[in-house]
Symmetry: D2
Subunit: 362 residues, 4 copies
Amino acid sequence: MGFELPKYIEPNFEQEFLKSAPNVKTEEVVKEGVAPENYHGTTIFPEYFKIDGKWVLAKESRMDSVVVVKDNNEVEVKEFRNLKVGEKVVVGRTEDASEGIYVYNGGFVGEEEIDETFAFRSGRSRETAYSKDYDDLYEVLRREKEHGYIVWVLGPAAVFDKDAREAMAALIDNGYVHAFLGGNAVATHDLEAATIGTALGQDIYTQKSMKDGHYNHLDLLNKARRAGSIERLIEEENITDGIIHACVKNDVPIVLGGSIRDDGPLPIVISDVYKAQNEMRKHTRKATTVICLATQLHSIATGNMTPSYTVVNGEVRPVFIYSVDVSEFAVNKLRDRGTLEVKTIVTNVQDFLVNLKNNLTK
Amino acid sequence: MGFELPKYIEPNFEQEFLKSAPNVKTEEVVKEGVAPENYHGTTIFPEYFKIDGKWVLAKESRMDSVVVVKDNNEVEVKEFRNLKVGEKVVVGRTEDASEGIYVYNGGFVGEEEIDETFAFRSGRSRETAYSKDYDDLYEVLRREKEHGYIVWVLGPAAVFDKDAREAMAALIDNGYVHAFLGGNAVATHDLEAATIGTALGQDIYTQKSMKDGHYNHLDLLNKARRAGSIERLIEEENITDGIIHACVKNDVPIVLGGSIRDDGPLPIVISDVYKAQNEMRKHTRKATTVICLATQLHSIATGNMTPSYTVVNGEVRPVFIYSVDVSEFAVNKLRDRGTLEVKTIVTNVQDFLVNLKNNLTK
Amino acid sequence: MGFELPKYIEPNFEQEFLKSAPNVKTEEVVKEGVAPENYHGTTIFPEYFKIDGKWVLAKESRMDSVVVVKDNNEVEVKEFRNLKVGEKVVVGRTEDASEGIYVYNGGFVGEEEIDETFAFRSGRSRETAYSKDYDDLYEVLRREKEHGYIVWVLGPAAVFDKDAREAMAALIDNGYVHAFLGGNAVATHDLEAATIGTALGQDIYTQKSMKDGHYNHLDLLNKARRAGSIERLIEEENITDGIIHACVKNDVPIVLGGSIRDDGPLPIVISDVYKAQNEMRKHTRKATTVICLATQLHSIATGNMTPSYTVVNGEVRPVFIYSVDVSEFAVNKLRDRGTLEVKTIVTNVQDFLVNLKNNLTK
Amino acid sequence: MGFELPKYIEPNFEQEFLKSAPNVKTEEVVKEGVAPENYHGTTIFPEYFKIDGKWVLAKESRMDSVVVVKDNNEVEVKEFRNLKVGEKVVVGRTEDASEGIYVYNGGFVGEEEIDETFAFRSGRSRETAYSKDYDDLYEVLRREKEHGYIVWVLGPAAVFDKDAREAMAALIDNGYVHAFLGGNAVATHDLEAATIGTALGQDIYTQKSMKDGHYNHLDLLNKARRAGSIERLIEEENITDGIIHACVKNDVPIVLGGSIRDDGPLPIVISDVYKAQNEMRKHTRKATTVICLATQLHSIATGNMTPSYTVVNGEVRPVFIYSVDVSEFAVNKLRDRGTLEVKTIVTNVQDFLVNLKNNLTK
């Protein structure tokens, strides 16, 4: 009966253990990119820090990072490598307020209903019933299209097939994509398809291997490098379809992180992976829903930097994370690495994308 | 532009090597179920045997079996275990007519186009482009619905999800299923869903585990055994949906072969696996298209007894075999075991069935 | 040091809820193979039934079956299909003694240590550390060799490789195998290797495909069927190596259950799968350790009929179950289907067998 | 007996088509990192280029790159991104000498025996017989230890288990490792094990999850970053075991390429992935054997830059590439992406490493 966003209930700060809790302690960074010994490491859950007698929520959080208290008594969650000398890092490894650190897991009202709908957790496999997950996802996306920030993370499999590639472009055209994260391969093969009709030399519809097709992606990369930018390449090659084209046309930001297996790369690719992480996190900071398709590397990377909640217009709300892959091991790995709230769907992403297009666009 | 059935060109029997070939030799069976030493073993391809100077095609063939010459000079392809004392078995292990045995692989006109459309063979995986396979399959099924004999082989995964189960029932209702082969599990869980809404105790839509849900399939089996037949059970329990119900309603024959992992079993299940093979083969003898979903055991069993061609109204035509599973290993195994002509699709069968329903029924 | 069998502490029957519990109720079977409506279904755990004021433990139990109270006030756990008219079946679906049925999970002393050693349960995958599992297994097998009953369940992959096949034969020769369960394929290919050196036509050492190798297993099957028994075949073909040979030589019982994908079958194969279940259960009734390798069908079948405990010389002890396969899905499926106590190892069974041989035989 | 390195027979340059072939054409690079339109792309096979009437072999080749003719008439195989303005790039897309480019596939004597031993190519899976592959590999490594350059590529799974980690360290100590390529994770978890005994917080022997264990790898990374180098860390933390320790002790070069999923990273990690590629290729240029374990990303990256042959002391010889993973898809992907000569083994790398240690060290 329509999608209802789970409501967040703040901790009751009048509880004695929270009222009597001390302020957090901090220690200063003395070496760039290195935290003090007893730093507090973040989780994916809402965390509050007592500063000057007030409990302050970490916004735009992420796990496995540290907490810097700023001059205005706000906190910032930063990766170790981004720490600057002199910054004040929260120390202490308790989570129960006894050191001024309170990790608050369970603030979403109707947690039980949510549990069933959005947080089913154990034993998901090829034999799980996915009908309701699809139905829920359609509702989520229809809402988030207007009121959220939907981040997509794609592996190359999403562009190896004609229908899937068209479906993804349609989703972009219809406003269901607010940021597109990926690597050199997905963009290269999408542009290869746009210019030559193949991916890795194989026709994306007929499956026919083209003569000298192993040159196709190299040719595309060489042209892109000569053009100097994706936008320029689209112009020069008269590209009119595909995922990259749809992103550029609709002003959807693209972040492509480099990897050691890249050919080329495309001019847009960020060669320093930690700079790439910084760019990716600009989007996961805002994300309300994240959908990861067929890429273990990029899914885990994105999962690592996505918290279970976010603050929109002053209200705390959950972040929904989906991971879709044909391999149980791949989708589960995201959870094993700490992204506990992920909802996994085991199927070929081609079918997944076509399903979404059929149900969300007309 | 519409589906065109590949045309079969008979061998040119005027070729010298065929004209001058000797008649086949046979030897008599002396022990029930045992072939003479030098028996000829069949393949999946069209095979001709020279008898009394004439080349006779084996109809209703299957691989790994032997060839019996009958009194009317027809040949019958029989499993070893079904040989009777006194039957005349073709001997000789050549395939080039030199012993009167001619294995003829390549008689379908436009083999090249077929190759691309229906026989793409190497390296199919989750990264293969499946758009055209789907499009081809839709055309095949629309044609075979009227002019062919479509055999479905289903594992339990097909009924674990509400949308998939409904899609399969809709395909049956719309005439796309001429025989249904499976095991005790797929039927049991389909009937569990029909009566209690769960599969193995888990709701097939909400995924919720029901209290005492591990009793559900046992209760269903016990009721079925008391009823004594599927038809009776449907009546007693007022079953009105699902795959088994659709088969019974539409007079689609059901063959369920037993296995050592069965609970129950349902009264319809055939406990002797070689009798079950005989019943299954009654349908693969007639099959023009075979679709195997999410069951390695039943898919290989069915693949073993399905030839690459069949004779319909005196005309030789290809048999199309599809194997759909989320695991590359599972779909490839069918080929590894000799069913060379199989077309594999790597995806979750839930999405596969919903795709078919969306495109083939209204 | 060394392996210590976890000790079982009986329930304290002086507890009030057990003392005051009523006797179980039973209902008579009125139709062969059908249980009364409200039958009690068994689990894998120790279950006690109050009969004539005394708590009686079910010995030789198995899950998903029913409990028959016999004239001597003992109980027997029987499959539904084996129920005879007039037998008294325990009814009631509680487990807390309130209906005279008490399911007692947790009687093994040092459960915590056991938990760590033999019952680690979540998220086992290719990335789990298996060193200690191997070390524990070596100790278990050294002990069980003398004092237990070790049941092996093998798929054909165990005989496709020379070193693995030799390792398995060495384990049989050295007394580590008390019963061997499998299907037609594992035995056929073992005997194919023994007589021709191939499995499915491929040399088990050099991997070379032999000319006309697809005849090999058919020839072997035909010879076996002519011989009429495994023992006779071994004599006639002078078979001197392999798993079947080792079993016959060492009087290790072999149970081969038929399946719909069998060629042949070998004369020893049981064609009725429910009779095969009965034969398999004769061994799981006695089993103290069960090791399942590379066969989903036979592993689940065996797991279904293996309880978590057994009674040896009047003492209750745990049954250890191992499932080894290269696929997480395959090993986990055993747990998903209810065999909760299974310990899974994700690897190629070739390496697993060679490891065991290296550590257990000299 | 024993291992015989396949001998390479140069093309017979007296053949007319080679004698009469024209010199190669080249075009100059006009934009940094961009090749001329009609560039020749390299394969993994030996390629000869006619320059000033002489056929010149590309040494230290790799696929998907371009060929630069240098002033001394030698050729260099360079990645597109490394092209400098003014460099002369070979153009032409034929391989048959007609444009002065000759791709020579098949120069290794006894190719047929090699085919069986080192280049078996189709359908390798969990069911392939690996005994002989292991035997061959032992011989290869014993020889290459003295006369070759063995490059190892490791994913984190290699250090998650005690026995596997010790086995790998023993192989390093015994001279079987000449270079070690990997990412941040494998090194981090190896050092986590060296200092705390866990990997990702789980004991690498007992599998027990340590309290607050999710801090372990972060603590290790923070310490390493404070130490400023691996060597310093080893000193400060008194690290005496593991893979990284063994490499440092034995002066085995380590190249760790960064990735977007890294925490930390360790100070040794190269953050720019294309610089990382350059460093990795320094080793694949010299490699005679490459062994890739349980890392799809690094295996494909390394495979991409490893040719099928190398030149040692003026002699052309094959490069042996092994890829070991529990997933058929992972090992096959290396081939699908063009590394055609790879030999794949489907198993858990823990067992693989222990096997190697048992057979190669004492």
